[in-house]
Amino acid sequence: MELAGLYRQMLRARGYELAVEDLWHRGLIAGEMHLGTGEEAVAAGVVTLLGDGDGLALTHRCSPELVVRGVPIVSMLRELLGCEDGLCGGRGGHMHLFSKEHLAATSGIVGASLPTAAGFALANRRLRANKVAVAFTGTGAMNSGMALETLNLAAAWSLPLIVVCIDNGWAITTSSEAVTGGRHVERARAFGLRADSVDGTDVRVVHKAAGKLIDFARRGKGPTFLLASCPRLDGHFLGDPLLRMARQPMAEGRSTFAKVISSAATRGGGGLKDRAGGMTRMMSVMARARRGPVRDGRGDPMLAARKAMKRHQSERDRIESEVATEIESAVEIALADFGGSADA
C-alpha cells in the first residue's frame, strides 16, 4: 500500500482514539480505557496487509487495529457508550470487542491474544487456503505462560501465525525490561519462529517488514514474530496515576509522596540501604514516566508520517480533512440519541 493510504489509516486510528478520550472524560464511557495512541504506524503497517478470512486477535489496547481493519467505528463507539445497538450489544465494552465477520477478537486478559490467534491460524489452515492469523501483543504479555506456550505450539504445528509484539517499554506501570529475561526476538527464534524487529514509528518500515513475515506465513512456511517499538503516549490507561503523578507532581502526587516519605521514616522495617534503594527505585520509575514521549512531540508516529507526506501536500490536506469529517460524523451519529446526557 502507498504511503497515502497508510497515512489515512493512521489518522483514522488517532482520530478515533481522540474522540474516545473526549467521551471518556465526559463520563460517557465506563471503566478502564487503554488508548492505542502511539501504535498507529504498527496498526496501519500490519493490519492493511490483512483481508477477508485473515484472523486478528487483540489485547485490551485494541482500537487502532480494529479501526484499520474496517470494523465500523460508529458501532464501536456505540459499544463504548453502552448502547444495545453497539458492536457487542453494550455487553462487551472496550476490552471485549468482537467482530465475527472480520474474524477479530479482543481480550482483557494479558497474553490471551496469542492462543486465540493460534486457533484462528489452525482453523484457517484447514478451512481457508492461504489465510493467516495475526496476534497483537506487548512485551509485558510475552512473559505470560500462555504466550510462551503459544510460540512453541505455533512452531510445533507450523501454524500460519504472525505475532506482532509492540514494545513500548512498559508492562503496565513497570519497566518491561526490568521484569524480562533475554531478548524477545531471540526468544522467538529460539522457538523456531522467523523473527524480525522494526522501528514501529515508521509506517513504511513496519509495512515492509510485516509484509515479508505475513507472506512467509501465508506460503505455509510457519509462524513468524515481529517486534515493533513505539511509544505509549497516554499511559497504561486514561487517568494512569503514574503518569498523573509524574506529569503533575504537585497536584496529583503530593499525598502519595507524603505517604512514601513518612513510611520510609517509620521505625521498624528495612535498613537504611533497603529504604534508600526502595525510594530510588520509585523515583526512577517516576522519572522514566516523565521523560516519555508526548503526543505531537518527538517520537509521535503521526508526526513522522505527516512529515513523510509533505511532498504530497494537497493529497495530505485532502486526507486530513476527509478523516476529520469521517470521525466527526461518526461521533455525531453515535451520540445522536443521547440528548441532554451527552452534554453532561
Binding site: 471518556w24 453502552g82 455487553r91 496515576p241 513510611s263 528495612g270
Partner: protein, 337 residues
Amino acid sequence: MPEMNLGQAVDRAIEDAMARDDSIVLIGEDAPMLRAPLLARFGADRILGAPISESAFFGAAAGAAMAGLRPVVELYMVDFIAVAFDAVLNHIAKLEGFSGGRWKVPMVIRAPSGGGYGDGGQHGQSLWGTLASIPGLTVVIASTPADAYGLMTTALAHDGPVVFMEPKLLSDNWLEFLGSGGRDTVSFDVPTEGAVGPVPDLPHATLFGKAAVRRDGSDVTIVSVAVGVHRALEAAEKLLPSNVSCEVIDLRSLRPLDIETIVESVRKTGRLLVVDEDYREFGLSGEMAAICLEAALSPRFARVCVEDTLPYARHLEDAALPNVDRIVEAVNLLVDV
C-alpha cells in the same frame, strides 16, 4: 479509633504485620508502584515487582511459603486468578493435605473483587464460590474497613493459604484507579459505611469462621458478603415501613463457614434470602440452602445473585448485580404467603 477507608485498612494491616514478621514478603505486578510506601520502608527484597506471569509467581509463592517465607501475593483483580489457577487448585490448596498435615503453606492471596464500575465481565467477577469450594483454602471477604484490617491481620498469622477478598466498590484506591481514573464526571453507588469507617485498636484481629449479624430481625434472614451486605441493609431499612423485619448476616468468612449463626437465625425467621454478587448456580446460595436442609430446616428460600456474564454497560451491570430493588422484591415474595 482511627478512621480509614477499606483499602487503607488492608494496606495498614500488611504494613503492621511486615514490621512484626520479617518472613512476610509481598509479590505482585506493579508492586513497587502500587505499594510504594511499603517499598520505601521495607526495600526491594520484600516488595517484589513481578512480570505478568501469574502462573509462575503464584507457584513460586507456594514454594517460598513451603520453604519458610510468608508471601502476600497480589492480583489486580480476582478474575486474573484464572491464569494462576493450577497453582491455586492443585498445589497451594493441596500441599497440606498431601503431606498429611506435615507441611503447611502460609501465604495470602490478596484479590480485589466485584463490579459496579463498568469494567466488563473479565474484570468484575467475584468468584468466591468457586474458590471456597476447594478444600485446603481459607476464603475471607471484608465488607468494612474494620474487618478488612482484622481479617488481613488474621490471614497474615494463619498457617495455611488464605484468599483475602477486597470489594473494589468499597475500596477508594481501586475505584479511583480502575473506575474513575481521576474523573469527576462519573459516579458509583458506593455504600459509605462499607467504604470508610473506624478501625478499632491496632493491631486487632477478626476471627475466621465467625459471621457478623449486622442487623437483628425476625421475619427474614438475609445472608450475604461484601457489597451485598450493604445492599441488604439498605433494603431492610426500606422494608421497615411495611412491617417486614430483616436480619442481615455478613458471613465474612466462607471457608470456614459459621454454620451455627446462619442456622440459628433461619430457625428463628423461617425464611432465607441469599444475596450474592457471585454466580447463582453451584455456589454460595445453593450452599446456604444445603446447610439449612442438613440442619433439618426447610425455610422459604430465595436468592438474588448474578445470573449471567456481567455486562459492560453501566445500566445493564447495575441490573445484573444484586441491587436494593431486587432484594426488596425477593423479600416481599418470601413474606407474601
